[in-house]
Amino acid sequence: MSTSTSLLIGLLLLVLLALAPVDLNDFGVPYPGLRRYGTYILTLWLVTAIAAMGVNLIVGYAGQETLAQAAFVGIGAYLTAIVTKAGVPFGVAFAASGLLTFVIGIALGFPALRVQKHYLAFVTLAFTVLCWLVFRNEQWITGGVMGIRDIERPTFLGWPLRNHIRFYWFVLAITAIMTFVLWWIVRSPWGRAFTALRENPLRAESLGIDVRLYTLLTFALGSAYGGMAGSLYAPLVEFIDPSPFALGPSLLFMLMVVIGGSGTFLGPFVGAGIAVLLPEWLRAWETWYLLIYAVLVMVMMAFFPGGIVGLLSRLVARKARS
């Protein structure tokens, strides 16, 4: 797809998404707009997709494994909740969340990537458990299992975002910017280097590509996406406790990206959509949902390791040929 068509399609999707919670009957279109809960779910999807984009950068583009994305989301969420309650503006908290998680990403990734493949997976696994312990035990700052409540939604240029639709638009705008940034990176020469280091790190290294540095950068950048997603998550749910940032959710982040299609640009959005919507659809079977999800993942890996987006693009390509 050429640059201008992808941009055009992206813009069109953006407009459609922006209109999703709006009652269009006034404009002669028989569409009542999403209600409060629907808008909330849509916002949650966007926030999840931002974190999943980060995972996709690490897993799909750099070929590494991260099991710490929920921990990074947690760091962003706690940081934002704590400092905005102390009166720091949201913008500062958001930037600080991204920066802090980027720096932690470097600090974790640097020693792990020196050793051998899969060490990053174990180090991030350990890090997630460690973060969860800190969230749970350090009551004086995180509130422990009681969590932090009444996190306020921010004001943007004097425009209060308490209203759910306004907050949705705010999150949508940030998602759009972050999507564009990532799109820019993966189509720049950096993206070409990512492909090279995933497919054949030995050869990439011999062509002057600093494999360790690029891998470290993708990991730190992907983690920062997690931190920024967390920064949006806190004011969205208005109450945080340690449970969504435990090991289980970190594993789910990895699974959702692979289900959507790792290494494809739209994969994280599809995967995040499934991860957010599936528990809603399967509400009647509440306890079964994780079981079904796990089986689904195993079947997908055996038959379509390219994920849903990979499968669809293969079908489209076959249609086009016949």
Binding site: R187, P189, R203, S206
Partner: protein, 247 residues
């Protein structure tokens, strides 16, 4: 005149096996040096020690007088030393042209400039020149994985020249290439050497190819240099004949 590549007393053991024992040689600017020897004579280990893929137990490697021993391969490459691998190593998911751009992109400008600058990182013209030179122009937008073996081998070699390296180490460039393609490859390598003065070190099994391409040979056996000189001389050396027949 100082040597472009200076290899001194390289030693490397694996467990108890000494693969390379004290090899020293010089490579002069502009020459094509062949490294031959029977299987297991330590050629590949020597190559990997020179190129930073393995860390030698002893000895030094200098490029233009600068000590580069055990430098990481990416650093060495940015200092102007390129290589190819024994097994074919192109990136099958990228197009032929993208492969070439990739091979050159880390050598131009800063990393930050590559993030914000043009998609081809300013390597487009150079890639086109290389496509023409290796006669791959009509295949530029094909995925490298869909090219024939010989074409991939040409592309693989072409990638080594994208960075403007002055020293290129080729690990069995002729392996598995058919006869017509082989002549083509040799003729292109000779042309590059003649036109731009790039220096080559070639490991090769195909004796005919090596004898025709190289201006000088060194022969390894059991981790040591047993002969050195112009191809015609080496061919008659009794120690060389013995080493080959003995195996």
């Amino acid at each position: 005149m100082t040597a472009l590549l200076e290899v001194r007393d390289i030693e490397k053991s694996f467990g108890g096996v000494r693969a390379v024992c004290g090899v020293s040689f010089d490579v002069r600017e502009g020459e094509i040096l062949g490294v031959i020897g029977p299987n297991g004579s330590g050629k590949s280990t020597l190559f990997n020690c020179i190129l930073g893929q393995l860390v030698p137990d002893r000895g030094t490697v200098r490029v233009n007088g600068r000590n580069v021993t055990a430098l990481r391969p990416s650093r060495l490459n940015r200092l102007g030393v390129s290589r190819t691998f024994q097994l074919l190593q192109v990136f099958p998911e990228l197009t032929a042209r993208e492969n070439l751009i990739l091979a050159g992109q880390e050598h131009r400008g800063s990393r930050l400039a590559r993030l914000f600058g043009a998609r081809d990182a300013g390597m487009g013209a150079e890639a086109d020149r290389m496509l023409d030179f290796f006669r791959l122009r009509r295949l530029e937008d094909e995925k490298a994985g869909s090219l024939s073996y010989g074409q991939q081998k040409l592309l693989d070699a072409a990638m080594a020249f994208m960075s403007g390296s002055r020293l290129v180490l080729l690990d069995e460039p002729a392996g598995g290439v058919n006869l017509t393609m082989l002549a083509d490859l040799r003729e292109r390598l000779e042309a590059i050497n003649r036109e731009t003065g790039v220096t080559f070190v070639v490991i090769e099994h195909n004796m005919e190819f090596v004898m025709a391409l190289c201006s000088r040979l060194i022969v390894l056996a059991e981790g040591r240099i047993i002969a050195e000189g112009p191809p015609a001389e080496v061919r008659r050396d009794p120690a060389v004949i013995e080493a080959y027949l003995g195996h």
